[in-house]
Subunit: 334 residues, 2 copies
């Protein structure tokens, strides 16, 4: 046996570090893994030769906390296999991947990344809106493809000033999107679960009417049973042939099959998508379209937001283990 | 002879329409040519079988007005061949393609598109800045290329909030860029010919010091003898390895050969370019780089700005021919 192996053995992990189950390697570990491994004993299911079920079973009695990213589903079945579980600390803001009903039933607390990503998602959504309306990514393809040399007339885009933009979900992200769009001279309206009395923007209780009255929609709400497929064929037809949709929320806010159909048939003007129904799978039909901008679910991710998110995650985990108030507990309505 | 030809003959043009020389088909004609041909007798050099010199010579005595786009050079030699010329009406805002010294000497008035394009160029420059910093166009390539399926970790971009952005030229466009960047939480400074006492932003008399103190530079000044190659190797090295440059002014504001060298060697962080030194030629080395966004000199062009520009051009031409005040005469300092 290589003596080096001793140093790698989990049995030599300092005993005072609290154990945290990590099911899949979170994206944030690509930069900040050491910040976690220095403070916690990470039980990495994804590095174990054991099948996930066996790995979970082996640590079931001692795992009080799970650290998860925003895409790996934390289902009721898994939660039931962890009788000691008290905390799920998510690196994401949205918690639609976590079974909140089971957490509520068990009294398991869920923390998220709080407001960490809001500015970056807002910047990304405004970037996508400008990109689609002003044809930036397709313009770049035009130049890189050498077409400028033979065809001087690149198709015209649409301006932003005076355009009516409907924000779907005027929360931490949506309100930041509104500030940015106002600076560009857009006319901002919104729909949300409730009218916000602190904002000057026009409230629409109904997404269909908002779509009728908008040139573009920016989706930045949570995915819930109420919002799943809220952007359906009717909403897209109401938005119309010149209408643009930006989605930085979750893929399933849109009926993706209908979206593809509407785009292919020219029933809407264009889309900027950071999120998809079956990530990382993206409908192939979109790859052929020039009025579409596609991102790999990364509008939240910058060097700076990763640093901030790591601090929030570590803060929540340390607070939990030392019985201090959590930084960003999620209000569990279930 | 086909009797149809009579209808096409210039001799049947209604005599009351004023003659305007058009040397190259302006981009704006792709949408609004009829708005001009309904009001003026367009002498289109680019549709004549005659060589340009002969065409100009044939109409030299009667041409009082030239309509030009933003790229075709109006040189002293051409102006000297038009003894009756009194007005050059440009569809662009910048007049660096017109020999203003010769115009000043001859008392020829130059009009431009005024403020028509300012909002669209500002939106485009902010779109380019977000795109480069947040890697939107390269993200779209990543998704379209199918790389998301095999590599989940797309490289992180940089956030905008708190970044120090230096605006080069705080005029109609630059001040609009500043408003947009402030809404994103950027810290705005600027350099300009003169300190503007009406703005709250920090003024730098020196581009080199501005570059030292900035994370990004947005170039939206005119091209003059003073600004040609103002972004040279020294300025780029001062901006540094993470620094971003957006150029929506004119290509020759940057020493393009040095820019390519700095990008290839990693001496600056990235660029968003709407303009180039030898348009439509773009240095091939840029096509290989992922931290570069390239546009075909179109940040000014939308359906809406074209409509507005057509109104301004027609307004200037009609004002000239009816001895009324011009809408947007250019102050000729030469």
């Amino acid at each position: 046996m290589d003596p080096q192996d001793h140093h790698r053995s989990p049995s030599l992990q300092p005993p005072e570090l609290e154990k945290i189950l990590v099911l899949r390697r979170p994206y944030i570990f690509s930069v900040h893994e050491h910040d976690f491994s220095n403070r916690f004993h990470l039980l990495k299911a994804y590095e174990s030769p054991l099948p996930l079920h066996d790995f979970v079973h082996a640590h079931a009695q001692c795992v009080k906390a799970v650290l998860c990213s925003g895409t790996y589903p934390i289902k009721a079945e898994l939660i039931r296999h962890l009788p000691a579980l008290q905390l799920i600390a998510s690196a994401a803001t949205g918690v639609n991947h976590i079974d909140m009903v089971e957490c509520g039933r068990r009294g398991i607390i869920v923390t998220n990344a709080g407001d960490t990503y809001s500015d970056d998602v807002a910047d990304g959504s405004v970037g996508l809106l400008i990109d689609v309306m002003r044809r930036i990514t397709s313009g770049d393809r035009f130049v890189r493809g050498g077409y400028w040399l033979t065809s001087t007339h690149y198709p015209l885009g649409s301006n932003l000033r005076g355009k009516r933009v409907g924000i779907v979900g005027l929360g931490n992200i949506g309100s930041r999107v509104a500030t940015r769009l106002e600076a560009m001279g857009c006319i901002v309206s919104y729909t949300s679960r409730h009218k916000k009395h602190s904002t000057p923007f026009t409230f629409y209780p109904n997404i269909l009417q908002l779509a009728f009255d908008s040139d573009a929609l920016v989706l930045c709400c949570s995915l819930t049973n109420d919002t799943r497929h809220m952007i359906d064929n009717k909403v897209m037809m109401a938005l119309g042939k010149k209408g643009v949709i930006v989605n930085v929320g979750r893929g399933a806010l849109i009926d993706e099959a209908e979206l593809v159909k509407c785009l292919v048939e020219g029933d809407i003007g264009g889309v900027g998508l950071d999120v998809f129904e079956k990530e990382p799978n993206v409908p192939k039909e979109l790859f052929e379209l020039d009025n579409v901008v596609l991102l790999p679910h990364n509008t939240a991710f910058t060097k700076e937001s990763f640093y901030d998110a790591a601090q929030v995650l570590i803060g929540n985990l340390e607070a939990f283990f030392t019985n201090k108030p959590l930084l960003t507990p999620v209000d569990n309505k279930f």
